[in-house]
Symmetry: C2
Subunit: 383 residues, 2 copies
């Protein structure tokens, strides 16, 4: 599992003292090659953290020797000082490992607007480097947690090659971006352009369709590193499907562990004129606070689904809309359908199907309910 | 106060039995002229309730004799039956008052997707008509309450003429629409086109800039009726200002009574390239759930303001953004500014100022915090 499931990678996760709690907060992932190919997808938020600005440049070279990730501070909105800190972190990793700093990606997560304690982070890089292991993926996954209740890893096996990965993320999860810190690794021998294509396709259909709370992060980073250590180059389609499967697995884990959530809501929009319409409608439903509250209360309040659909520019006629909640078509032709008392909402997963009756395109968006626990987690302390 | 502050109007509010609680649920406002001029603004939600579809047609004629409003049911997403019920309600009012049904506006509020109990509503119209009084404005305002904790009225006095009004609304408050049920009346002698112009200008700057929970209703209706009973025709600018003042007063009352809210958040965007940019940025801040939670927790978490600004298409450079919370500039040039511990957030009103440093346009948006009480009110029962 995790980033060391594929051959050619070592990883470590240690406590550098960045978090006041003393919990693990620094992870290192090293690609031992022979190939150093890499691709990345970053937040589309225009306010980008220093490590995002840095790593975007690194990824342009198509080669990554190592990724250093810290929790305990996002290093976002920290000005020139923040960028210098990211640069110094990459230089420290480069010097410690004997690699080029231009091939060291950096990722940070935690509170925005606070500078990192470099007096703890830089010595931590040495500690992490000393702890690197071909079995260190699990510890790396643990070290990037913030409000995550569990660490998140996934793996997909090909014929003689592997794609594995780790993710962190429990809030500020919304589409239009990568939505979290994710590192994927593979020992397949795949050149950077193909990695980039496979990663973009996968994130578009997985992380980009997760919308826990409508809030877009400044730090989201998804990296895919290939070591080529298997000596095998799979068919592109087969490889892309493995990348998609790992991303999908991790995306579902993010929704399943979202802050304060008690329900995972699978929103499927069908009958759309095109995929863009389906995604727009799915997101409008996913972001409707009133509906999210109703789902929390196990109330099949389909009127709130219709009022959300009505805010979009998608092609539909109001009197042709159909909505099912857990397969009961509570709204037919824009009006009252089957008896809402037939809807059983006791389980964590709730399925909403919105039929626009305007075509044959569809999309699935995953969301969470809105709970008092979410409010508590995000109001009781800065995060 | 309310809709009977202006001369030439009678109103009533009674309990027709639409609400199971037995609370008042039916209001009637009658224009006794001599003028019957009227204008209206309606929800921009594409899923519109039957009474909205009806009243939009009525308003096109520029004359309204009476408005009938019910709480206890939105008559939205109720199909052809719902529209027939609205039509029958207007016909009943017309027959009872001896006016033309095409001059009777209808407004409804309550749960979406439930048909109205016409066996109670229609007899209620007769009861309300019998109770009509030149002092009935307060009772009418009470009868349109849903989850509102208080009824809402306002008045502005001109030289010999008056603009008064009532409003209801406590949730599903968001811009891009009228956001609530509002009836304004005036005894000024103003023709329908001027009423329309004054009302659109006023709602654009008041109700359209209230965003309590980002959720757009299917039923929002704002009506302005002129009786001409004062015999005076004020200067347009003076009249428009009075309409704006009453709308602003009512809009602030809506924010102050929003479901479960503990804070009223005044978001002022300054330094914008144009007003559209200022409004877009203001709304993105107003709708950020993480920020709304932080404000609830009295945490001046300016990083969440920047991450919200970063999702917009407004003109700005990330490293030139400035943010003040309660006048403390906690973010300067996109980075750490004054000490956040200086921010005092004990009071209900919280002021966020976002300076885009990109021009001289500005806008104010009002929002609420996100609280466990909001979740409770919107999950514990259907509304």
């Amino acid at each position: 599992m995790s980033v060391t499931a594929a051959k050619g990678f070592r990883a470590a996760g240690i406590a550098a003292g960045i978090k006041e709690s003393g919990n693990p907060d620094l992870a290192l992932v090293v690609n031992d090659g022979p190939r150093l190919a890499a691709a990345g997808v970053f937040t589309s938020n225009r306010v980008k953290a220093a490590p995002v600005l840095w790593s975007e440049q690194v990824i342009k070279g198509g080669q990554v020797s190592a990724v250093v990730l810290n929790s305990g501070g996002a290093n976002a909105c920290t000005g020139p000082r923040g960028f210098q800190d990211t640069h110094a972190t990459a230089e420290k990793v480069a010097a410690t490992l004997g690699v080029n700093a231009g091939e060291v990606a950096v990722a940070s997560t935690g509170l925005i607007g606070v500078t990192l304690p470099m007096d703890k982070l830089l010595p931590g890089v040495e500690t992490a480097a000393a702890a690197l292991s071909a079995h260190g993926g699990e510890k790396a996954a643990i070290a990037i947690k913030t409000t995550d209740s569990v660490h998140k890893t996934a793996v997909a096996e090909g014929a003689g090659w592997t794609v594995g990965g780790m993710a962190k993320g429990a809030g500020m999860l919304a589409p239009g971006l990568a939505t979290m810190l994710v590192v994927l690794t593979t020992d397949a021998d795949v050149p950077a352009p193909d990695l980039d294509k496979a990663l973009r396709e996968a994130t578009r259909l997985t992380f980009d369709r997760v919308d826990s709370d409508g809030c877009m992060s400044t730090n989201d980073t998804v990296l895919l590193l290939a070591s080529g250590a298997s000596g095998l180059t799979p068919e592109y389609a087969e490889f892309a499907e493995a990348v998609r499967a790992v991303c999908d697995d991790l995306a579902r884990q993010l929704i399943g562990d979202a802050e304060g959530a008690s329900k995972d809501i699978r929103i499927e929009v069908i009958g759309a004129a095109d995929e863009d319409d389906a995604v727009e409608v799915g997101r409008s439903i996913a972001r409707n606070n009133l509906l999210k509250c109703a789902i929390h209360g196990e109330d099949p309040n389909w009127g709130r689904v219709l009022s959300a659909i009505g805010t979009t520019s998608a092609a539909f006629e109001p009197d042709r809309l159909n909505v099912a909640i857990n397969d009961v078509w509570v709204c037919k032709n824009g009006s009252v359908g089957e008896d809402r008392d037939l809807v059983d909402m006791r389980y964590r997963e709730v399925r909403i199907t919105a039929d626009l009756a305007a075509g044959s395109a569809s999309a699935v968006i995953w969301a969470n309910d809105l709970t008092a626990d979410y409010v508590h987690e995000n109001s009781a302390y800065s995060s």
